[in-house]
Symmetry: C2
Subunit: 379 residues, 2 copies
């Protein structure tokens, strides 16, 4: 079957679009990447999404219109990748669209019930592309008491399980998330959780200091020195102490939090702050490994992916902090780092297509397995 | 197949829940109503929905949480109707959930693209009830340039087409909508549009004057006299002049509009204002019939349904304004007025289940037929 996967993460660094051939289902799935590209999210849309993530006051019409606008953007992505590959969008068996997370709050509090919302109207994508669209993967997991995240573990189990190696799959998007696929080959043994910020805090600081979207190659970080006082402060972040599985987002590590740090360290060198925030990304990963994971599964490999896998500083700090684990990138084992998440949603949608569950309750905390996503047929 | 349909309209007068047995599809559909009930929408939820419909500033978390809260409410409705009928929710083949319209703006303007949003998370309903849920019927029609409304015409064609009679099906919810099912037995001849306010303005005035949710039986209206100046003003409402098909909502005839009228007629008797607003509901229907419909199809019967069909004043004024058309209620032809819309969405979801389109492009203005709704499987 031909399928396009679309992923636009919390870091807002673009719309990842993967065109794949996918055959079989479950552990018999085989996926072949045909084309991949990343398309820009227009500045105006980024602004609206940031406003929502910061839970600023908006009008319902803003949100409803944004849902349709994002749908058009995602449809454009599908059209572009198909054009690149020389196929018609109507030849696709399905599109798997993660959507743009607008709000994710899987824990109830005094004011709200547990909730999550991804926008990017699948009806628009189906109308423009003339093919079935599967979207809204997280809601039913949240409805079942889960955190609606991480969802990639199932796809990682399908793609990376190896009886000779225990592997950690570390994605470095806005937020970092890891899946431990142990050599036991049993999906019940999967451990997965968000490790904390990956690029989010670094990007926020880069924007503030250098009006850049991110620290290309980790150059700024590599030219700076760690600030011990900031390191100590970050080590005390309450997220680290929460038991796994757990998930987090822009609510905890977004612009507000970074702004408060930059304000307090305004006498420090910009490169030093960036270096320390970059170190924190690596520290979060190593902290969680030694504190929670190593007792259950000893990792042979940590395979990093996502935008942050291009950041040489993160890789350097990881190698220093976890010396006995091989730090690899997807390409080292024949995969495409950037396409990984978009492919993951193709794998999840493929299960939905086959009416099979694909959340991993041990990773999300859901009370039971669920068939993820909603199916919108082509008109 | 066993199915539950859930409808909660813009008038916010309760959640209509119908349990039906449905067999076949298309013109071979047969539907039998097993149970019907209406459940209250809690005041706090009503307040939130009104805030959204008035496009007041809210936080994204309010909307995302409301989506999940409404899902719980709808799931409760499904559970209650099943309990009443002595069946398990897991025995249902599917639930058809219209959702609560939060915002409906099918025309693009300077600020927004065409959009519509119904909330009541289907993932929550599927999780609680353990059955497949079909929801979000309007979006793809709007994505195809349609107005996403009215959607009931297809179900009315299935249920009411009669080669001996041209029938008008007039629903009186918050907004009034009519479907003309002509005796030609051809779905392409269907004419359908929103006639304007039905209960919305009356309810708003009743709340203001009498702290009541609606004018029970039309008693207040029947004890009042029409105010000629207000009649003249209402006759000039710009909605009347728009060509059919067309749709409207709380944005045009909601509390703000009514408040401006009540302010200007504050020296008038409350009953007289209510009588005139009630007359306007009937006038809108007759105006559209004589102005647009009669030239194409001469009606034998106008069959009214929805909350407003219990309002004797509306029925009286309709008989006076349209003397040569028989004004009937659903019960006169063996149907249940209150259950009509909930049943309609069962019929639409049944088509989705069979991968068949069920919008009527001549009614919505969509560029083509579409399979409506999104399918969320049970966990």
């Amino acid at each position: 079957m031909l399928s396009v996967g679309i992923m636009s993460g919390t870091s807002l660094d673009g719309i990842d679009v993967a065109l794949c051939e996918i055959l079989g289902s479950g552990t018999d799935t085989s996926v072949r990447l045909i084309e991949f590209d990343t398309y820009d999210l227009p500045q105006a849309i980024q602004e609206k999404v940031r406003q929502c993530a910061a839970n600023e006051f908006i009008r319902p019409a803003d949100l409803s219109s944004l849902n349709f606008e994002l749908g058009e953007l995602f449809a454009d992505g599908v059209k572009q990748i198909c054009q690149k590959a020389g196929i018609e969008t109507t030849e696709l068996d399905f599109v798997a669209s993660h959507g743009q997370t607008i709000y994710h709050h899987p824990f109830p509090n005094n004011e709200y019930v547990a909730n999550t919302m991804q926008l990017g109207e699948s009806g628009v994508i189906a109308a423009r592309c003339g093919c079935t669209v599967i979207s809204d993967f997280r809601v039913i997991d949240v409805a079942l008491g889960g955190q609606g995240a991480p969802l990639v573990p199932y796809s990682e189990y399908v793609l990376y399980a190896d009886k000779n190696k225990s592997r950690g799959l570390q994605n470095l998007g806005g937020i970092g998330n890891i899946t431990i696929v142990p050599n036991t080959m049993d999906s019940n043994d999967i451990v997965a959780f968000d490790t904390g910020p990956a690029n989010m805090m670094i990007d926020s600081a880069m924007k503030y200091y250098f009006q850049k979207n991110y620290d290309k190659g980790g150059e700024s970080a590599l030219s700076g020195e760690f600030i011990p006082q900031l390191q100590a402060e970050l080590k005390g972040h309450p997220y680290l102490k929460l038991p796994i599985p757990k998930s987090t987002g822009r609510e905890m590590f977004g612009d507000d939090y970074v702004a408060s740090i930059l304000e307090r360290y305004k006498s420090s060198k910009a490169e030093d702050v960036v270096a320390t925030l970059t170190w924190f990304t690596a520290y979060c990963i190593s902290y969680h490994y030694y504190e929670y994971v190593e007792k259950i599964h000893t990792l042979d490999e940590l395979i990093i992916s996502g935008g942050g896998s291009h950041n040489k500083a993160i890789r350097k700090y990881l190698s220093e902090l976890m010396p006995e684990v091989s730090i690899l990138v997807q390409e080292d084992i024949g995969f495409n780092s950037d396409a990984k998440e978009a492919i993951a949603f193709i794998i999840l949608a493929n299960e939905t297509f086959h009416k099979q569950p694909s959340n991993v309750p041990s990773a999300t905390g859901a009370s039971k397995p669920a068939i993820l996503g909603k199916i919108q047929y082509a008109p």
